[in-house]
Symmetry: C2
Subunit: 446 residues, 2 copies
């Protein structure tokens, strides 16, 4: 690509909340921005669990990055994988060998599911949820379990098919378990003929003594637990997962037989973090300076879920939330402008406006400052905040209609099973649950 | 599953327009219906090309069959693959060995892409469009071609990436080529920085002397051709495809280099048709009796795209259109009721209410009786008819909003590239177009 400008080159890795915030905050500045992402879309990650639980469609919560930046003429978008950084030459290396020169680099590549070193065992037998593909696979597996159960004559096998274990009692685990509770009660009520609501069992497992640790008030965590109970979710606290094998979750004194195991127990910085040679915390996130820069490289910033930012005077890094990512993004944009103008840059300060988690339709917990809400009021607040962000984020009016449709009218338009060979997976799932050998392989028509 | 009723058992294979029409027309009748489909969703097939061209989301045109039949208590739905029929015992065999007994069987399994015996060559190098998965793959490939072109420094390779060949000048080919013309002109105008509208080339190839043969008036076919020309689509008539290889379409005197080849040139009855032992036409469709039954088996009906119904006094079977399928479905429902009541059944008669095809936003052709329309008037008619069907089909108000949003506001919310390893495909695509060997395999972070 011909160099059209001698403006400082800002390269951003990642089109999530953090990366886009930097990019948009630099819209009217004399810089030449290149945003690199492996995906062509920005994902509204706080609602990803809604796609996984068939409440919303992918297009409701994802938007092409090009569409967001269409009119921002100082930015170009490359769909590519960043595989390394040459700090000497100030170049970002891409998967195809291309090297992108930068004056400022912002690493905002996000996080991936953390199976704590057991990717090849636990990671195979349970499903994580960090990308749209993950969420679609979760949707497919959950819906297929119901389909297989409807056809399953054996009661034990049916019980295994309709047992869902959610591992991890953080906000994502609570939201997934709640949505699953609603989905199963709602779906089972009308859609199926042979299975009943009482057949479905949802177990939420948390190793610690409470839900929603790290951010939420203990009292609200209790409210969330009560609300999950109303939706039929069994919450097990102080329960450590010893092992996960095919269709089984092994606890200390018990083995849960469940054909669907959902994993929300941890995230880690994406592998790009390990390539920078910077200090990482134990979850693989880059430990950054007070100005969000990578130690030793003041022109390189790491923000969002890939970074561990520990505010001065505290011992815990900021949580992996969209507001943190967006505030860091805007801060880094200002920092770059100040650096270019040779002005000094103060440290980043996170303004905590509150935290919330939804447990289902009309159930949620929220806290902001000293205000603590649970139940319907919290849910309305959650709805307003999320719709507000989606709208400002872009003219996604459609989402509001989609929400209205799904939430108020209680429809489930996105309840599609897609992916090649869905019916074959169905068959395998049923055989597995029933402990049968493979079905006769009489596949004939496509 | 326990037998809950001694009512006559009606088994329907396929939840498309034909199968659902039978099922819903039997809603208040004393029959026990089982609808079998490999997918969990009904597909509004006339708009499938919109998903393929990123105009609509899958959930906009697909709806879970269970949702459609939720309140129809005489019907149950099985997600399964039908693999054969035992006419003696009156049983439908499923992929997992289950045998479903029937008193009446309706085979409405639809059609699949017909590569005319070249599935393993042409079928590999071009993309068909009969299922949601097909459409999503088409969308992925088309969008990836633009992404790869944006990053491609070599002009020849860029031209290959931005050349799209659509094979088949029937309604689907015309609609796909038109939507692609709009997509490329629209997308290129705003979204990309390195590629331009003039770089994109869309070629529509038809073996016959005119577009839209078999149904449309010759004059309207000319209008469609003009409208395609306005959108920058090159239409080649009387052009036979000799061969398709990797990235190449071989014509008699010329080879088109195109990284994306879309195939809409034919359909055939699904393989289930061949298992019935009934006479098939040359496209593998079951040749049926005047009452839509399978010859020799008055209790078995074949309708919709899997059947070839030749009206008396004519030599061509009815076209594979939703109205044909729906009318046949309602007819067969009546026929079953009449058979049960031992009343005689007259032959099926198709009432042709017209035919239409859209070429893009505000461009279409339509004919009904002697009325022939093209351009904006035809497009409005097309829109009204399709929205009408979608609404009656179910309370899919959302679709109307989606349409409004996409068509009137010209947004492209569904322009998502999903599927594991998208960026890797991107890399392969670029290498292929540039004639390079594989890129260095430095995949690091997930």
């Amino acid at each position: 690509m011909p160099k059209t400008s001698e403006a400082p080159r800002v390269v951003i890795v990642g089109g999530g909340f953090a990366g886009l915030a930097v990019c948009r905050a630099l819209a009217r500045r004399p810089v030449a921005i290149t945003l690199v992402d492996r995906q062509n879309h920005h994902l509204f990650q706080p609602l990803l669990y809604q796609v996984a639980m068939a409440g919303l469609s992918p297009a409701d919560i994802a938007i092409p990055i090009r569409a967001v930046l269409r009119r921002q003429h100082n930015a170009r978008v490359l769909m590519a994988e960043a595989v390394g950084v040459d700090f000497e030459r100030r170049q970002l290396r891409l998967h195809d060998g291309e090297a992108l020169g930068y004056d400022y680099l912002v690493v905002a590549a996000g996080a991936s599911t953390n199976f704590f070193g057991k990717e090849r065992s636990w990671g195979v037998h349970s499903l994580g949820m960090k990308s749209l593909e993950d969420a679609l696979e979760m949707r497919r597996r959950v819906l297929l379990a119901f389909e297989a159960a409807e056809r399953e004559p054996d009661a034990d096998a049916r019980r295994r098919l309709l047992t869902f274990v959610v591992i991890g009692g953080g906000p994502t685990g609570v939201e997934v378990a709640g949505a699953l509770g609603e989905l199963s009660h709602f779906v089972l009520a009308d859609d199926f003929r042979a299975i009943h609501a009482s057949d479905a069992r949802i177990v939420l497992i948390e190793a610690g003594p409470r839900l929603l640790a790290g951010g939420f008030d203990a009292e609200l965590a209790e409210r969330a637990r009560d609300q999950l109970g109303e939706l039929g979710v069994e919450v097990r606290l102080n329960t450590r997962v010893e092992d996960i094998s095919e269709g089984r979750v092994h606890l200390k004194d018990e083995t849960l037989e469940a054909s669907t195991v959902l994993w929300t127990a941890g995230v880690q910085g994406r592998r790009l973090a390990t390539l920078l040679g910077a200090p990482l915390d134990r979850t693989g996130r880059i430990v950054v300076e007070p100005d969000c820069s990578v130690p030793g490289h003041p022109e390189v910033f790491a923000i969002g879920d890939i970074a561990a930012f520990v505010p001065s005077g505290q011992d815990q890094p900021l949580p992996g939330l969209a507001p943190v990512a967006m505030q860091q993004g805007r801060y880094v944009a200002r920092a770059i402008v100040d650096r270019i103008a040779k002005r000094s840059v103060g440290p980043f300060r996170y303004v905590d406006k509150g935290i919330m988690a939804t447990v289902g339709r009309s159930r949620a917990v929220a806290q902001t400052g000293k205000l603590k809400l649970s139940g319907f009021a919290a849910w309305v607040m959650w709805l307003v905040v999320h719709i507000w962000f989606l709208i400002t984020f872009r003219n996604r009016l459609l989402v509001v209609f989609g929400w209205f449709y799904n939430y108020v009218l209680y429809a489930r338009g996105a309840r599609l099973i897609t992916g090649e060979g869905s019916w074959r997976s169905l068959s395998e799932l049923a055989d597995e649950a029933a402990g049968r050998a493979g079905a006769p392989d009489e596949v004939v028509h496509r």
